[in-house]
Symmetry: C2
Subunit: 541 residues, 2 copies
């Protein structure tokens, strides 16, 4: 055996500790030192919002490992309250400083792993120091402390963490306003999908303000940038994004991108061959090409293990990331993988989009609820570029299936042939994911669909809009300008439509498809409103 | 337009009606006639057991479509209580006979689709006529009627339908015994996995008798074949498998396999080019090669659509079937895809097997429960051959993900890199499916695991068995012959084990992996008991 090697890991949570434990399993003889600035290692970042709301009752259940336990089991030298303040790349040492005493130690390393994560962005507005952000247990404790006497909270930022906090603060009985600069919540989703979440938040008493930002935080209120409106607030949460914790790496001269994220190769190695980087601080290769930050625990853990493997001489390449994420909020699940229609349109990509609203399981079995699915495909290759699924139950399952299909390189049409487990309490004989494949198959076969945001232009161009739902459905709410011709009577009208251009629509698109198939055979140019009235309503809300 | 074509479909449920509706969407001008022997078309076979138990309250909710509604919407000529009794292939006619009046009509066809399904097997024992089977609404009504006054029921057959019925009859307050000829319930699972279902059934008061069969049904009891034991029973359910309803096809001289299933090509065409067959009566191409029956609604629907496409000139090939299925019983979900270890061993295949028992979601978030997963891989290619997942929650999701990975041709190791949606209420940062990939990665890398059924032989050969759990866990139950060395003290013992052959085990295999990794580096030949004490216990129960 060669002389024992020393591995130093900076950051002792998701990426860092995954690397440390794996390194030990691969190399029993090495010295493995973990430096963590905070008081805790191996804590459950993702659980923090739920202790604020009391859903997770035990604070300590969020701390998954202690330095002592990691010492006993893995022989790790875990030093909390210890910050890495400098790297001497030539000498291969890292300087560790005790947060309490300030004493410093230079630790030589054979390999160094940086998993320093990302910190909440502090927006440059007056009073920003009054806002609280959530990253670790100390932050959580501070929020809980302040929430005890608070009545009104403003959450700035409608991303995943902001919404989780909004829900949990609402559980505590606070009045909650979410202020989001973009015209929608949840940037990884498209606007008509995100709207379902907005609706749900509002139904639970959360005041959601879109397209507006904080311009100042005062002791008892915030000022909004949309014409000096103010909102009373005795607690302000800032959850407007993160920036990489890479000051240490920058000082050491490691290659960063323009936003400060560490550039790594497919094996997580930085521009210094003795230094690896993983997690939120490092760029990820994206499946669609290029590199971008992706702030997800799964990837941090995975790449931590990968870096350990690379260091121990078991090199594999990281698989490019799609970015699969899920949010649970007020009983609704919103899950997403890959790219949005918005981004792809901005890039001028030729895409095909499908919306459906099936039941999560067979309608005849009790408890079925509606899912809303969106699939975004490359119009030329049928490659799956992204998907979004929102509903009470089973949204996470469908996104996982689609993410797996993407990993396997399946096309949209091939979703029709997936063999998914069916019994009536779990799915439908044609699972919602299969159904996306069928719809895609019809589009490939020449059926045309029209998106909710294209409808007005089409009507402008002279297309007739025909509602094929029932009288009752139509009476309960209809798209302005639509004519009612219920599907079961459509054959009677078909001849009269010959030669015309019509857009048919039903509630979700399914009857519309049957209607369009029928009309086309009578010489009508027929397109189907994708996702039907339901998607149109969400998009135009 | 050419002269309107006539399509006749025999069997108006899953496969048949899917073909009929699709044909209409593709061909508005055709005459489409559906012949159904029973009183109902488009009924939810899969829901029948749940109306017996009152879970599905409304009997009529099981009838998804009526002839009238299908006539109005799809212009289908749907004839219930009408049996197809003969096919004249030369003349291309089918003879339809009214079940009520016996009158016959010869209907000419351009294309004929057979989706006649499969009927419950009636075992050749005395009193078999006293047993009830479940296939359609009439059968269901009969069971409900008899269950009203019954107190003790014997269900012969521990397959999916038998167990669903057992649960639902238990819900009605009956005493239920399940009698299964095989040494386990649920043939599509391996014995140690099926045991989890047996345990759950027993915990809910169902008497499960394995390895025994009925030899006679008397008015108030049944006789078992294991030495003349009897069981009181005022209701006997026969759910011991099905045989294809292909008398019509046989008479017409279509090619059948030795068990009577219709032989079809990849586009569902039978040996007669004008006749297609789908659903339970037809063979399916299996992903692993060869053809076999697979009795699943999803495939029946899919192949119905495919046959319609082929007839309308839109030919696609059917994707070979893996057979993905799921059962919910007394709160437990048991899901499966592909082949079992048992079958593959019988075939002498070189396979690799993995068992794990992770939480369905992050342990620190309330409500986490244990899943049991099994993955079966080709030892040489790492191809995924099968998987089984059982647990309270999320089993269907994991099987769907693995089934999709199989469809995409991903290997076992590649499961580690799937990006699955993670938030603590839905999954773990390393999802159970990812974890299977990690375990596989270690096995490929040379770690050895030992299956529960191999343990005794190994110990016989002189391997030491070391329990690396805690004192408390060991005291609560241990494998005979094991020595206790808790993982956190293992380094103290490692030198003393140098040169030895040891099998380590923990509760589920995870600490065993860390122990084995450690010991190997001290010159110990170490293997890990796959799935740990938990799998061993289930297997040897
Ligand atoms: C509230 C919240 C909820 C989340 N929910 C989810 C979710 O549901 N699903 C999901 O996938 N992801 C979620 N995430 C994101 C996920 O937690 C991160 O992607 C993941 O933790 C990143 O791992 P990391 O190792 O890169 O960084 P971290 O886990 O943040 O760890 C970095 C550590 O490095 C330490 N550090 C930094 N610089 C130094 C230094 N110089 N010296 C010593 N120590 C240093 C920091 O103190 C920190 O503890 C959530 C994050 C938060 C904050
Ligand atoms: C109780 C039960 C529960 C089930 N649960 C599930 C489940 O949870 N998941 C799952 O995937 N699958 C399940 N299945 C299986 C699924 O229902 C079948 O795979 C599917 O219905 C097969 O479709 P098919 O069209 O081949 O046959 P069927 O749906 O059985 O339809 C065949 C029809 O043809 C008619 N017929 C036969 N011969 C003639 C003739 N000569 N003339 C006129 N009509 C004729 C029959 O009367 C019958 O109605 C279940 C089945 C049953 C019985
Ligand atoms: C938990 C933590 C310390 C890592 O510990 P770890 O032992 O590497 O990881 P896990 O406990 O997940 O176990 C995974 C290991 O067990 C193995 N394993 C799991 N189940 C197994 C089984 N049944 N049989 C055999 N091996 C098994 C895996 O193969 C893997 O080992 P490998 O990496 O050598 O392949 C680290 O991830 C951490 O600190 N996490 C908390 C912080 C965090 O992740 N936050 C973000 C999410 S909230
Ligand atoms: C229901 C039944 C009559 C088939 O009707 P169907 O109209 O073909 O099928 P569905 O209602 O599932 O709808 C599927 C069609 O709608 C389309 N569709 C679904 N959602 C859509 C949407 N949002 N937008 C556009 N099209 C959509 C699909 O593409 C498909 O059309 P296609 O085959 O032309 O591609 C038949 O399957 C049946 O009788 N089932 C009951 C029996 C049974 O299945 N038993 C076993 C399970 S319990």
């Amino acid at each position: 055996m060669t002389h024992p090697r020393t591995y130093v890991i900076v950051g002792g949570v998701a990426g860092g500790m995954s690397a440390a434990t794996r390194l030990r399993r691969l190399d029993e003889s090495a010295r493995i030192i973990v430096l963590e600035r905070g008081e805790h290692v191996s804590f459950a970042n993702c659980g923090l919002p739920y202790h604020v709301g009391g859903v997770i009752e035990e604070r300590l259940s969020l701390v998954l490992q202690t330095p002592a336990a990691l010492g006993a089991r893995f022989g790790l030298d875990v030093r909390v309250s210890t910050e890495a303040v400098a790297i001497d790349r030539a000498a291969r040492t890292v300087t560790a400083r005790s947060v309490e005493t300030g004493t410093e130690e230079r630790i030589p390393y054979d390999a160094l792993i940086l998993s320093t994560g990302a910190s909440p962005v502090r927006i440059p507005i007056p009073g920003v120091e009054r806002g609280l952000a959530l990253r670790d247990l100390a932050d959580m404790d501070a929020i809980i402390e302040r929430a005890r006497d608070a009545r009104r909270v403003v959450v700035a930022g409608g991303g995943f963490i902001g919404l989780e906090l909004a829900e949990n603060l609402r559980h505590r009985g606070l009045e909650v306003t979410v202020v989001e600069m973009l015209p929608q919540l949840l940037r990884p989703f498209d606007v008509e999908m995100a709207h379902l979440v907005t609706e749900r938040m509002r139904a639970h008493g959360v005041d959601v303000r879109l397209g507006t930002a904080l311009s100042a935080i005062e002791p008892d209120h915030v000022v909004l940038d949309d014409g000096a409106a103010t909102l009373e607030a005795d607690l302000v949460i800032l959850s407007v994004g993160v920036r990489p914790d890479t000051a240490l790496a920058r000082e050491a001269g490691l290659e960063l991108d323009e936003r400060g994220y560490l550039v790594v190769d497919a094996r997580q190695r930085t521009s210094d061959p003795a230094i690896w980087a993983v997690g939120d601080a490092a760029l990820k290769q994206r499946a669609e090409g290029g590199a971008a930050p992706v702030w997800l625990a799964g990837l941090a853990n995975r790449h931590g293990r990968l870096a350990a493997d690379a260091i121990a001489g078991r090199a594999h390449d990281a698989v490019p990331a799609f970015g699969t994420a899920v949010l649970g909020v007020f009983g609704l699940t919103a899950a997403v993988v890959g790219r949005t229609e918005r981004e792809l349109c901005e890039e001028g990509r030729r895409i095909r989009v499908i919306h459906t609203h099936p039941s999560d399981h067979a309608g005849y079995y009790p408890g079925a609820t509606t899912l809303s699915l969106k699939l975004v495909l490359d119009a030329d290759t049928d490659r799956i570029l992204g998907a979004q699924v929102i509903g009470e139950n089973g949204a996470d399952k469908r996104i996982d299936v689609i993410a797996t299909a993407m990993a396997g390189g399946l096309t949209g049409r091939q979703l029709a042939d997936l063999e998914l487990a069916y019994a009536p309490q779990f799915a439908s004989a044609k699972d919602p994911v299969n159904m996306l494949g069928y719809v895609d198959d019809n589009l490939i076969d020449g059926e045309e669909n029209v998106q909710w945001h294209e409808l007005a232009d089409r009507v402008e161009e002279g297309w007739r809009l025909i509602d094929v739902r029932t009288d009752g459905e139509n009476a309960a709410g209809a798209i302005p300008g639509s004519e009612l011709m219920p599907l079961d009577d459509l054959r009677d009208h078909a001849e009269s439509l010959r030669g015309e251009r019509v857009i048919v629509h039903c509630k979700v698109g399914q009857r519309g498809h049957t209607a369009a198939s029928l009309l086309r055979q009578y010489g009508v140019t027929a397109a189907n409103l994708d996702g039907g009235y339901t998607t149109w309503l969400a998009g135009t809300a």
